[in-house]
Subunit: 391 residues, 2 copies
């Protein structure tokens, strides 16, 4: 049976295409015996003691499992010092802000694959060099809507104007720019936002941006809060209530700190007080890899626990200072910290998970809840830009 | 400083809204001391010995960490026996195919939140009852394109027809239906596909579907294969080359089998031979939580390892029978196994990761590579439907 060729034209490429980096290093040939036998390489997990040693504040250069990271010297204003020191080894790194990857230096061009942007064909400093605020959220529609909203707030709106999607040739992410504000979608879950952040951080680096603040705007399930409360994250925690993000690199487990910028959180809380329109609190946020079983929901395709088990789990989260649950904050905090980006997570709670898994509020009420992080962060951006004009 | 109310109308809700399930159980009130102190609850990881005990084939009811799962008795044709037995305890489960959640029985309606579909307002058996094949892939555009392609292949295409997106009121996922084929996008990464699969499995359950085959169509990085080779996954492996999917439920680590349907893989391989248009192999697939550091790429925002480290890691993967790397197969296999869905993963390799991280092929070549899983699975569906007409 043959396949009709007539229809093949309808198949579209899903991912943007990359071109060869002609300057890439010649890769060493690897010869290995073919085998279908699996190896029993266990994950080497970092000890808890070591983890807390690593989490000690002000330690700029941390030993993480087998790997050595050297974040840049941060002068407190997000401007990078001209020399970057590895405090542990006393060596100068000499690299640029945001990224930490010596291999980038040898690349003639860098293709931000999932944005479908290429440093070889786009002038990044001209296009993005003035970015001071990056707002990210799961939904492409919401981030377009936020771009339109912030344009109005900043007096940059043009009647009936369509804001172009900078990544329009791919459906992986959407990106909008309004003056100094970049609005970017990140999809759902840690892997999806992680890909976006790798490419966003490189975008800021290539564009030579400075003094950048980044905020995740999201929705979440609350614990012990009135629905509609806006939670500014104190620190993201994993599903065992530890303030950490664990990932596997070269088969080894690496634990990273999820510390966010405390001063920024306080400034955002003050914005909530300025507005006085809805409850705003600072609290810990639990970040999970799954929406149903991972958040103790009773309404997934599978559920092996009881209502009592669920309530006990949520009570433990509450006791650990967790007031809301979402799916991106831990890797967001970890990657922003590694990049020395001033970062915050602002999520509205759509329901109280101790009282149910489904939403009881009306469509209009839920709609208004979802606007609150945008309103809060819009107010913050406007306030900061007005202050910088006066100074 | 006030916030302009004029612009607030532009903010759109990002997630579909849920209505209260009025029949939901009354939830027990939980009282806990407020505290910001974190608790030191370690993840209880299942031992490797126990893990291999669990993985023993033909064990339908497995003890997974603290939880007990009772997959249904599978009669080999994906039709469920009328009584479902917990083989370990000898008890009848008596529940329906696909799902395994006693709480669903007490719900008057079920809102598939991220599809924005509701059993209370849509007749699921009428809308979806004839579905026999579900094809899923990361990109909404690609899944729309696949729907148009399969319509042509099956002779169901209407000239200039637009296939409506069944989930058009949300931008989380896209869904198209062409006769017995459902084409659904799942975004990028394990959490994103996991949310979609929970809701898809419930959709099939509510629609009373039978004899369903599900295939993930994707792109991947290859190891030791010519770019453009189509890999039918033998078994997904994690980043330490173990054939398992680990997730956290109620703060405890649960390990699930990633076994796929071997007969289906062989049938798909035969389709590759029938077509004789491109190389098709059966091999293990590594599934990671990150695209850059998690796949040993040298071009992310952060990279703390050398080219040699990368090559050593890829060589270990090769030795474990891994021939391609992607980001969704492990949870896909695990959830389909729990649901007794006949499942396969078919991904094309866009490059050989041992030779680089960026793509050297032209746009047209890469475009044609991305069509191969669709062509292969389109051929399979056509073949199966023709065979069923004859029998």
């Amino acid at each position: 049976m043959g396949v009709s060729r007539r229809r093949i034209r309808n198949l579209q490429p899903a991912r943007p295409l990359r071109r060869l980096n002609i300057n890439q290093e010649k890769h060493r040939e690897v010869v290995a015996e073919r085998s279908d036998k699996t190896t029993d390489t266990p994950t080497n997990t970092i000890s808890e003691k070591k983890f807390y040693e690593i989490l000690k504040p002000q330690s700029q250069c941390q030993s993480l499992a087998k790997t050595e990271y050297c974040p840049r010297v941060f002068n407190g204003t997000n401007k990078m010092a001209s020399g970057f020191a590895d405090e542990k080894n006393g060596k100068k790194c000499g690299r640029s802000p945001f990224v930490n990857n010596p291999h980038l230096d040898s690349m003639k061009e860098d293709i931000l694959y999932h944005f479908n942007l290429n440093t070889g064909t786009l002038n990044f400093p001209a296009k993005f060099g003035d970015v001071k605020f990056v707002c990210v959220g799961g939904s492409p529609w919401r981030m377009k809507s936020f771009a339109e909203y912030i344009a109005g707030e900043l007096g940059l709106a043009v009647p009936n104007a369509e804001y172009p999607n900078i990544c329009e040739s791919t459906d992986r992410y959407a990106m909008y720019k309004v003056g100094p504000v970049l609005s970017v979608s990140h999809g759902m879950g840690i892997p999806s936002i992680s890909i976006m952040l790798h490419e966003l951080i490189k975008l800021l680096y290539h564009a030579r941006c400075t003094d950048v603040t980044i905020v995740r705007l999201g929705t979440s399930g609350g614990i012990g809060l009135h629905p509609g409360t806006v939670v500014i994250t104190k620190q993201p925690m994993d599903a065992t209530f530890l303030p950490r993000f664990e990932q596997v690199i070269l088969g080894k487990s690496v634990v990273r700190s999820t510390e966010l910028d405390g001063d920024l959180a306080e400034e955002l809380l003050q914005c909530g007080k300025d507005l006085a329109e809805f409850d705003t609190v600072i609290a810990n946020t639990m970040c999970t890899l799954d929406f149903y079983e991972g958040q103790a929901r009773l309404d997934g395709a599978f559920c092996s626990y009881t209502e009592e088990d669920k309530q006990n789990y949520l009570a433990k989260a509450y006791a650990a200072g967790v007031r809301n649950i979402e799916m991106e904050s831990s890797v967001f905090a970890a990657m922003c910290k590694l990049s020395n980006l001033r970062a915050a997570v602002v999520c509205v709670t759509l329901l109280d998970r101790q009282k149910g898994d489904q939403l009881s509020s009306s469509h209009d009420v839920l709609h208004s809840y979802q606007q609150r992080p945008q309103i809060l962060v819009g107010h913050y951006i406007k306030k900061k830009l007005n202050a910088s004009k006066k100074s």
